[in-house]
């Protein structure tokens, strides 16, 4: 797509989807690119303008595609490269941009590079990975997958050395001290950019480079790799975007924006659990505190916000006390816990409470950043904690109440994953078809929300100013851009609340509620009194008339 506006990602509403889980056009039980292309009209109608695709490359699928065995083509299960191109073109025709995954840090152990590398110590690709005679190097490095891995080193019986891996042992880390690796990865990115992809989500970026005596995260050398890739991309493909997956504290994350010359966007990981925490505590404090700790970022950069995604609701960026609280409140059943997180979808996390689902989506769309909707959350899909790993949140999209939920014509037992069948979240109860029929369904409501968000550039590009009313159950903030000011007021409580807002700065302005366009009283000298129902939120446009 033509890059008419280099900052398009600030106005984006992103839809995260797994090709395998979305729509099966071939009848083999797996979603595919042709199927995804067929559902683009649905996404256009939903209102999203950007799609983020999870990995679709050839892979043994031991980590849901994040273990890539070939970076330059499409997993045959999902179709062909031509299918991808056709999908990309169809998306662009609808004004929808496409973000694809790029797993820079590691490959699958089935990748030919690793097979060559391990074949002998003298192989030319030996140095493409990180090898060692001992498993004692980089001692200061934490384990990420605590539930499955005992060490960041794995023994290779073929070449009789240890290799370094930050994630699963079947995902050896690439060696970014090797210039050949860096050139090769850029070449792969170029391959996809030339095809027309609009952006990359770069997976696991803090771990690219290792240095003794450090925790091997966020190292300056890692930033150099990113800067180099960004510079090349800007030079050859202006208007494209890099999105960082770096599960770090805001202060550490800040570095990934550089001087506006590293990532264009980064996920705000610490905010997400605090939104859930604030909701359960009925207290805005966790949200405002983390946002106050969030440093300013360069003008051309943007945070990426999400409620749920394909991974567990990560609790790495919270204190022990907060983690215990989150577990007790959101994952009472220990089967819901995985690594340092909670493997659940949005609707079950919120007890399928429509008011809370709306409020959380309202926050997602009004806090500073670009929102991401995880596929199925727009209709309130459930999860299946009985499936291993994070598969429970990656079940097939529920399109209708008929055969296989409309996902696939295949026999149910051949589907890549069991469908949701329970009476609350099963496809008979929750599906796109039934929700399209009603103006007040969650799907219809989400469409309205997205429409308002997209029509309000200040929400994507504006600054934020918190109001701190005395009632701590109410989270209120201005979003400002130029002469436009939006006031968002959110009741985090399960009970009705009254709140007095100090709006004297806008004395004389009229509040216009943005969903119904109703007029609220003019701001006067006294504190502005609002009452909000349980979990209710308002967005107001402030107008001087």
């Amino acid at each position: 797509m033509a890059a008419q506006d280099g900052l398009w990602y600030k106005d984006a509403v992103i839809y995260q989807v797994h090709v395998r889980a979305f729509y099966d056009s071939s009848g083999d039980g797996n979603g595919d690119f042709r199927g995804l292309a067929q559902k683009l009209d649905y996404l256009q109608e939903l209102g999203v303008n950007t799609i983020w695709l999870m990995p679709f490359f050839p892979s043994p699928l031991r980590d849901d595609g994040y273990d890539i065995a070939d970076y330059r083509t499409v997993n045959p299960t999902y179709g062909t490269l031509d299918d991808f191109k056709a999908f990309l073109e169809a998306a662009h025709q609808r004004g929808i941009r496409v973000i694809i995954e790029m797993v820079l840090n590691h490959t699958s152990d089935q990748h030919p590079w690793f097979q060559e590398s391990r074949s002998s110590r003298s192989n030319p690709r030996r140095d493409w990975y990180v090898w060692s005679d001992t498993d004692t190097k980089y001692k200061g490095t934490r384990l990420i997958f605590l539930d499955t891995e005992l060490s960041n080193w794995a023994w290779d019986p073929v070449s009789k050395q240890y290799y370094w891996h930050r994630f699963f042992s079947h995902q050896p880390d690439l060696n970014y001290d090797n210039p050949q690796v860096r050139e090769e990865m850029w070449d792969i990115m170029k391959f996809w950019l030339q095809m027309g992809v609009d952006a990359f989500r770069l997976d696991a970026v803090p771990y690219l480079v290792e240095r003794e005596g450090t925790n091997c995260e966020n190292l300056p050398e890692t930033h150099e790799v990113i800067k180099d890739l960004r510079a090349r991309m800007d030079r050859e493909f202006p208007g494209r975007m890099l999105l960082a997956e770096a599960n770090q504290w805001p202060a550490d994350l800040r570095a990934y924006f550089g001087n506006g010359d590293e990532f264009n966007m980064a996920f705000h990981f610490p905010l997400m659990p605090r939104m859930f925490m604030g909701l359960k505590l009925e207290d805005r404090k966790p949200i405002t505190e983390i946002l106050k700790q969030t440093p300013e970022i360069p003008e051309n950069c943007q945070w990426c916000l999400f409620l749920r995604n394909h991974d567990e609701l990560t609790l790495e960026m919270v204190t022990d006390m907060e983690r215990d609280y989150m577990y007790d409140e959101y994952a009472k059943d220990k089967a819901m816990r995985l690594n340092l997180g909670i493997r659940r979808r949005l609707a079950p996390l919120l007890d399928n409470d429509r008011r809370r689902i709306e409020l959380m989506n309202g926050l997602l769309m009004s806090l500073p950043g670009t929102p991401i909707i995880y596929y199925g959350d727009e209709i309130g899909m459930g999860d299946n904690v009985n499936l291993g790993d994070r598969h429970g949140v990656r079940t097939p999209m529920q399109w209708e109440g008929g055969w296989n939920g409309g996902f696939s014509p295949a026999d149910p037992e051949t589907l890549y994953s069991p469908l949701m069948l329970n009476p609350v979240y099963g496809f008979q109860a929750i599906n796109v078809q039934s929700q399209k029929r009603f103006e007040h369904s969650l799907l219809s409501w989400m469409k309205r929300l997205i429409r308002v968000r997209k029509a309000t550039p200040v929400l994507g590009r504006g600054s934020i100013q918190f109001l701190y009313p005395a009632n701590h159950r109410v989270l209120a903030y201005f979003r400002k851009l130029g002469n436009e000011t939006i006031l968002a007021v959110n009741n985090l409580s399960s009970k009705a609340q009254a709140v007095e807002l100090d709006l004297k700065e806008y004395r004389g302005s009229i509040l216009v509620e943005m969903f119904g366009r109703n007029i609220f009283p003019r701001i006067g000298d006294l504190p502005y009194l609002l009452t909000l129902g349980p979990y209710q939120f308002f967005w107001f446009r402030l107008r001087r008339i």
Binding site: K285, T319, Y468, H472
Partner: protein
Amino acid sequence: MPDESILSDGFVRELMTVGDVDIVVGVPTYNDARSVGQVVQAVRAGLLKHFPRERSVIINADGGSRDGTQDLVRAAAISDLSVASDVHALRTLHSISTQYEGGPANGIAIHTILAATDLLQARTCAIVSPESTTLEPEWMERLLRPVLRDGNDLVLPIYRRPKFDGLLIRNLVFPMANVLYGCSVREPYPSDFAFSGELGSQFLGQDIWNQEQGRRGTELWMTLWAALGKRKLVQSFLGAKTRREDAPSDLVAAMRETAGTLFTSLDAYTSVWHSTPEAIETPCIGCEPAISDGPSRLNRKRLYDMFTFGVKELDPVFLSILTTPTHDELKRLAGVPEEKFSFSGELWARTVYEFAIAFHKAVIGRDHIVQALVPLFRGRAHTFLTQNRDASVEEMDRNLESLCKAFEQEKPHLIDLWDGGK
């Protein structure tokens, strides 16, 4: 119906921002700037440590301080606007303050806190003294957990007190409450205690808040009301309790609060003490020896002098209060030299009971009656100090038992006088 009219509009607005809570910690104050900051910081630390997930609020009901007391309480708040970097809390902790009308009076402060607790639908409320400089964060756990976890209605403290602290409790309140009501709690007139939200609402609904016991001695009234109402009481060992060095010591006021409340209670609970009251069960959580060694700060010679002076000066008053034998006995005692002076438990019990009768009959102004007991109490205190100067904890407990027996022995005398005998 709870009386919420004592809450000012401004305070109601503050309560509105607090919203419903699990825990209220009430702090009645009046010019307590020298210690209240330390107390509320310890309260806050206790809430953060032991109840990090509960919705809590510190409520200060102030009698009109002009020394910055209220600001010190408000400074304990934790919010997203103002929070010390070394404090990590899951949620907001409000710490609010209000000045009540008609003060200073602890009863009005408690009334205010009760009304706020009721409005906020708190599950439990602890009240702590602004002078409790030995208050540790663990006190919050020891006061509140028995309500929140175990479903108790009223949690009364047990302190480790210096040997000669709390003389009025040991010589008057404890034996009288024990013998007349079967209530043997160590601190029936607590300064740090907790109760359930439900019991708080019941306190609030009683018709005492326009009476004297709704102004002073309210804590003692609450203990007796809960105990005699068969509410679930428990005692919880808190730790050492010492008075602030500069704390004002007003024996007349203390006598009004204790004796005045006890004497008033005789009218409310006549049928209870006329019979043999059932012993009220008050288990103790974490109890340890409750007395620590330490020198007396009291001047025995002065106590003796004030007793003899009082007996002489107040003779006309005593004539209208006491029976002739008791009056004569006290006059005789006032003539005994200090080294041989001994105000026996029996005489003290009889004296107290006769004062109670006089109070009941209002033979003279009730406040005068209570004030007139003060010099006599000083005489009793002199004997207590003499008796227990070298006593071990066990010996002190035995002496207390003896005193209770004396109150028991003299009880028929009280009944007899109450019922009209002379």
